[in-house]
C-alpha cells in the first residue's frame, strides 16, 4: 500500500512541477498584462490628471495590476492572469478618465467664477454709466432751466428796452420779420449825406443800449430813400447810410457778429412819394431785431 501511494504521488507532482518550471521559463507575457502595465505607468505619472485628482483610483489600479502580476508568476498560462490584467488595465483607464473629469470640473468652476466676475464688472460699469447719464440729464435739465430763465429775462429786457425806445419817441412796431425800429432820415442825416447828425447819435445810443443785451437776436439795418434821384444813387446812398448806422451801433457795444447792413434804395416805400410828407416818411432807416431760430 505504501509503495502504491508513493508512486501515485510522484506521478501527480512530478509532471506538474516540470510543467510549471518549463512554463515559467518560456511563456511570453500575455498582451493584456503588457497593456495593463503601460496603462498603469501612464496613469501614475504625477503630472497627469489621474494622479493629481484621483490618486485613490490609481492605487486601485496598482492593486489590480499586482494581482495580475501575482497570477502571472503563479501560472502564466492561466486565463485568470489575462482577466486580472484586463481588469487592471480598465482600472487605470478609469482613473485617467475620472481625473480628466475632475480637471474639467475645476476648469468649469473657474470659468463660472470668471463669468460671474465679468458679469459683475459689467453690471458695475453699466451702473456707473447709468449714474453718469442721469447726472448728465440732470445737468442738461438745469442748463435748460437756466437758459429758459435767461431767455425770459432777455425777452423782458428787450421788451423793456423797446418800451423805453417807444417812450423816447422812436417808432417801434412788431412785424412778422421781428421788432422794427423806424428812424426818420431827417433826424439821422443831412440831405444826400451819409454822416450821422449830432442829434441822431443820441437817439441811436438809446437804440444801441436797448440792443446790446439782445445777444440772441440778429439785427438788420436797412436804409431806405424816397424816389427822387436815380435808382442807383438812391441804392448806394441807402447802403452807405445803413452801414453808418450799423457802425455806430457797433461802436456803442452791439456785437459786430449780430449786425448786418443792407441798402434797399427806393424799392420799399411806406408812403406816397408824390407828397413832401410822404417822401419824408420814406426816407428812413429801419432796424429790424430778429429773434434767432429757437433750438
Amino acid at each position: 500500500m505504501k509503495k502504491r501511494i508513493c508512486k501515485s504521488t510522484l506521478w501527480t507532482v512530478g509532471p506538474l512541477l516540470a510543467v510549471c518550471v518549463g512554463a515559467c521559463a518560456s511563456t511570453p507575457t500575455p498582451q493584456e498584462l503588457n497593456d495593463a502595465r503601460s496603462a498603469y505607468l501612464r496613469a501614475q505619472q504625477p503630472d497627469r490628471a489621474a494622479m493629481r485628482f484621483k490618486p485613490d483610483q490609481v492605487h486601485e489600479a496598482k492593486v489590480a495590476l499586482d494581482k495580475a502580476e501575482a497570477s502571472f508568476r503563479d501560472d502564466p498560462k492561466d486565463q485568470k492572469t489575462r482577466d486580472l490584467a484586463y481588469i487592471a488595465q480598465r482600472k487605470a483607464e478609469i482613473a485617467e478618465a475620472s481625473g480628466a473629469n475632475e480637471e474639467a470640473r475645476a476648469q468649469l468652476a473657474q470659468a463660472e467664477q470668471a463669468a460671474k466676475q465679468a458679469t459683475k464688472g459689467q453690471l458695475a460699469a453699466a451702473g456707473e454709466m447709468l449714474a453718469s447719464a442721469s447726472q448728465r440729464l440732470a445737468n442738461t435739465q438745469q442748463q435748460l432751466e437756466a437758459e429758459k430763465k435767461a431767455h425770459a429775462e432777455a425777452d423782458a429786457r428787450a421788451k423793456e428796452a423797446m418800451n423805453k425806445l417807444a417812450a423816447a419817441g422812436s417808432k417801434v412796431s412788431e412785424e412778422s420779420r421781428g421788432t422794427v425800429i423806424t428812424m426818420s432820415g431827417q433826424v439821422l442825416f443831412a440831405s444826400g449825406k451819409d454822416v450821422l447828425l449830432p442829434g441822431a447819435q443820441e437817439k441811436l445810443s438809446q437804440v444801441a443800449d436797448a440792443l446790446k443785451d439782445q445777444t440772441d437776436h440778429r439785427i438788420l439795418v436797412e436804409g431806405h430813400t424816397d424816389s427822387q434821384g436815380s435808382d442807383a444813387s438812391n441804392q448806394a446812398l441807402s447802403e452807405r447810410r445803413a452801414q453808418a448806422v450799423a457802425a455806430f451801433l457797433v461802436s456803442r457795444g452791439v456785437p459786430q457778429s449780430q449786425i448786418r447792413a443792407e441798402g434797399i434804395g427806393e424799392a420799399r416805400p411806406v408812403a406816397d412819394n408824390g407828397s413832401a410828407e410822404g417822401r419824408a416818411n420814406n426816407r428812413r432807416v429801419e432796424i429790424v431785431v430778429q429773434p434767432v431760430e429757437k433750438r
Binding site: I94, N101, A104, Q107
Partner: protein, 132 residues
C-alpha cells in the same frame, strides 16, 4: 518487536493516505463547486445601466466600452449556464470594469463640453456681447 514496528508503520501510512485522499477530495470538489456569481451579474448589470443613462452611447470611446461590457455580461451568463462559475466570475468582473470605464469616459466628456461652453461664455461677457 518487528511485528509491532510494522503495525505502527502501517497505521501511519494509512493515516497519511486518508489525509491525502481527503485533501484531494476537497480540492476537486472545491473546484467544481464555485457558487454562481449572481452578485456579479447584478453589479455589472447596474454598472451598464448607469453608463447607458449617463449618455454613454453618444461618446464613441464610451460606447465601445459599453458594448464590450454588454457582450461580456452575456458571455458570463452563458458560462454560468454551462456551470463554469469560476470563469463566469472573471468575465463578469471584466464586464463591470468596462461599464465603469464607459461611465467615467462619458462623464469626463460631458464636463469638458460644459467647461468649454462656460469659457466661451466668459469670452462673450468680456467682449460685451449679450450672453445666451
Amino acid at each position: 518487536m518487528d511485528e509491532r514496528k510494522g503495525n505502527i508503520m502501517k497505521s501511519v501510512v494509512d493515516r497519511a493516505a486518508m489525509a491525502l485522499a481527503f485533501v484531494g477530495f476537497m480540492a476537486v470538489s472545491g473546484c467544481s463547486s464555485h457558487p454562481p456569481p449572481n452578485a456579479k451579474v447584478a453589479s455589472s448589470e447596474a454598472a451598464i445601466r448607469a453608463a447607458r443613462e449617463t449618455g454613454g452611447p453618444s461618446v464613441p470611446q464610451a460606447a465601445l466600452h459599453l458594448k464590450l461590457a454588454q457582450e461580456q455580461l452575456e458571455e458570463g451568463k452563458r458560462l454560468m449556464r454551462d456551470n463554469d462559475n469560476e470563469r463566469a466570475s472573471y468575465v463578469l468582473s471584466r464586464a463591470e470594469v468596462d461599464a465603469e470605464l464607459a461611465l467615467a469616459l462619458s462623464r469626463a466628456e460631458d464636463t469638458k463640453a460644459k467647461a468649454s461652453k462656460a469659457l466661451e461664455n466668459v469670452r462673450a461677457v468680456r467682449s460685451g456681447a449679450p450672453t445666451p
